[in-house]
């Protein structure tokens, strides 16, 4: 039992160390100039110090291997450092009618929202964008065999900040962007951006 206890304490220490390294290393994503604008002085200090927690590649790989298997790899800085004032949602249209995604349960809708967030943050990555949209469209074409073309709109909502809402009221700026079209043979074309207010 004594040996087992020592092994377990060692394992506990390693687990906690891994979590600390993952936690601080996740802040290094804020180091870019673009992200630094959104940080306060303390945030800039932490983001710039995060590199102290960088480990040699084999160690990083080992930590992430372990973290993936324990479901702890994504870090825990939820809704931080700031919350985006923009909400983007995808809308699928065919022949002027909206094709609703087939999800029925609120949890599935939340899961799709998570995928949507990923899509939004990689919207300028052409390869990434195409493969995701092709996959969604292919599934929708299967469910709607009568449809030949699907237009994918992005509905953008920009909310006033709390400070501006006090001065101007809680305004929401809405933009509808016809972003992409896809045909049954899975050809995807990015449309000339049309913006309607």
């Amino acid at each position: 039992m004594k040996v087992l206890k020592n092994i377990l304490i060692g394992y506990l220490v390693i687990h906690l160390l891994c979590m600390i390294i993952i936690g601080f290393a996740s802040f290094s994503t804020f180091q870019s100039e673009e992200n630094q604008e959104n940080l306060n002085p303390f945030g800039k200090f932490v983001a710039n110090s995060a590199s102290y927690f960088e480990t040699p590649k084999p160690v990083t790989d080992a930590i992430f291997f372990y973290a993936k298997y324990t479901g702890t790899n994504r870090g825990y800085s939820f809704f931080s450092p700031n919350i985006s004032p923009v909400k983007v949602s995808m809308r699928f249209m065919a022949d002027g009618k909206q094709i609703k995604l087939p999800f029925k349960s609120p949890e599935s809708k939340l899961k799709f929202r998570s995928a949507n967030l990923h899509f939004n943050s990689n919207i300028f990555d052409i390869e990434e964008r195409e493969i995701i949209l092709k996959s969604i469209s292919s599934s929708l074409f299967n469910n709607h065999p009568e449809v030949d073309q699907i237009d994918i709109y992005l509905d953008l909502f920009r909310f006033n900040t709390l400070e501006n809402a006090q001065k101007e009221g809680a305004k929401v700026m809405y933009k509808e962007i016809l972003g992409f079209s896809t045909t049954k043979n899975k050809e995807l074309a990015m449309q000339a951006t049309t913006i309607q207010n």
Binding site: G71, P102, K104, S105, L110, S135, F159, L162, A170
Partner: protein, 304 residues
């Protein structure tokens, strides 16, 4: 020092009953699946909304996915969707075995593995709650591992699992808190305003506009969240503050569930907190006083 660590990690005598914890984990994991039953094939199916070609871009070679087994089962004519159903049935069966105390260590590993594989197979659909379920099922392996040892050692091993969970939660909240301290939104209350606008229903968002004239409300809620998360590791262990901290954290998650509609995530975090620290409240039927024959329990020092 060594003795103190030994007592802290292995000598925890007051916890929620192991039986209660395992059953709660099994029940929650089953409900988690039942919540998405109408959409299972749109999420996991071969012709799902996000198919395997998309998923493969985000996972590493060492992460098991349904496709591995579907390829093998394909040789005997079993389709991808049928493979998924087989694993789903095995997952539910494993949870039932955990509930009924049948070969718990084996089924703890099996349920964790299948859930892990499901999460890997739907990378883009997976969010925080799914990863926490993975972690909870991993924790369940540590809890159930005690059954592999003699009865007199089980108390110490369960104590280890609960301390493991407690310390892990402390880091989770600490990093959640420190992350919020880096920006500006959580300091001026804008974060709560944005969360309400972008995550809640329009009825709640419309209601919040009436409070715009009182920004102090948003500041208090934002600062309250940051302080609670950041200081959770201290407050949850301090005798004077631990009960109120647990209640506040449960309220925070209830709020996330009700207002942001993150139902599964909210209940899951509440469950993890209750398993880790629920013994602070005297729910007599669910409390246990483990008698361990280890040296630790024979001392008078008790960390609760």
């Amino acid at each position: 020092m060594k003795k103190t660590i030994d007592i802290f990690v292995f000598g925890k005598t007051k916890t929620l009953k192991k039986e209660w914890a395992i059953k709660a984990i099994a029940l929650f994991s089953a409900i988690n699946v039942l919540f998405i039953v109408p959409d299972l094939f749109y999420i996991f199916g071969e012709q799902g909304i996000l198919q395997q070609a998309v998923n493969e871009r985000y996972i590493f070679w060492y992460q098991p996915v349904l496709g591995w087994f579907a390829d093998i089962f394909g040789y005997v004519g079993i389709s991808y969707n049928a493979t998924f159903l087989i694993f789903l049935a095995m997952y539910m069966l494993s949870l039932a075995c955990l509930w009924f105390n049948f070969k718990r260590p084996v089924f703890a590993v099996l349920s964790w593995f299948i859930h892990f594989m499901f999460v890997n197979s739907t990378y883009l659909f997976s969010y925080g709650a799914d990863y926490f379920v993975s972690f909870m099922l991993f924790m369940n392996i540590l809890i159930c591992a005690g059954y592999l040892f003699k009865k007199e050692h089980r108390g110490a091993l369960y104590s280890f699992a609960i301390r493991f969970l407690q310390l892990h939660l402390c880091l989770v909240y600490f990093f959640a808190g420190i992350g919020k301290l880096l920006g500006t939104d959580w300091l001026d209350g804008n974060a709560i305003w944005m969360v309400i606008n972008t995550y809640t229903s329009s009825t709640i968002a419309d209601g919040s506009t009436a409070m715009v004239a009182y920004p102090i409300i948003f500041k208090i809620l934002a600062w309250g969240t940051v302080i609670l998360e950041l200081l959770y590791p201290i407050l949850i262990y301090s005798k004077q503050t631990r009960k109120v901290t647990l209640v506040l954290v449960l309220m925070l998650h209830a709020g996330i569930g009700i207002f942001m509609q993150f139902y599964i995530f909210a209940v899951l975090m509440m469950l993890l907190n209750i398993i880790a620290f629920g013994h602070y409240f005297k729910w007599k039927p669910s409390l246990q006083e483990e008698t361990t024959k280890s040296k630790a329990s024979s001392t008078k020092i008790v960390y609760s």
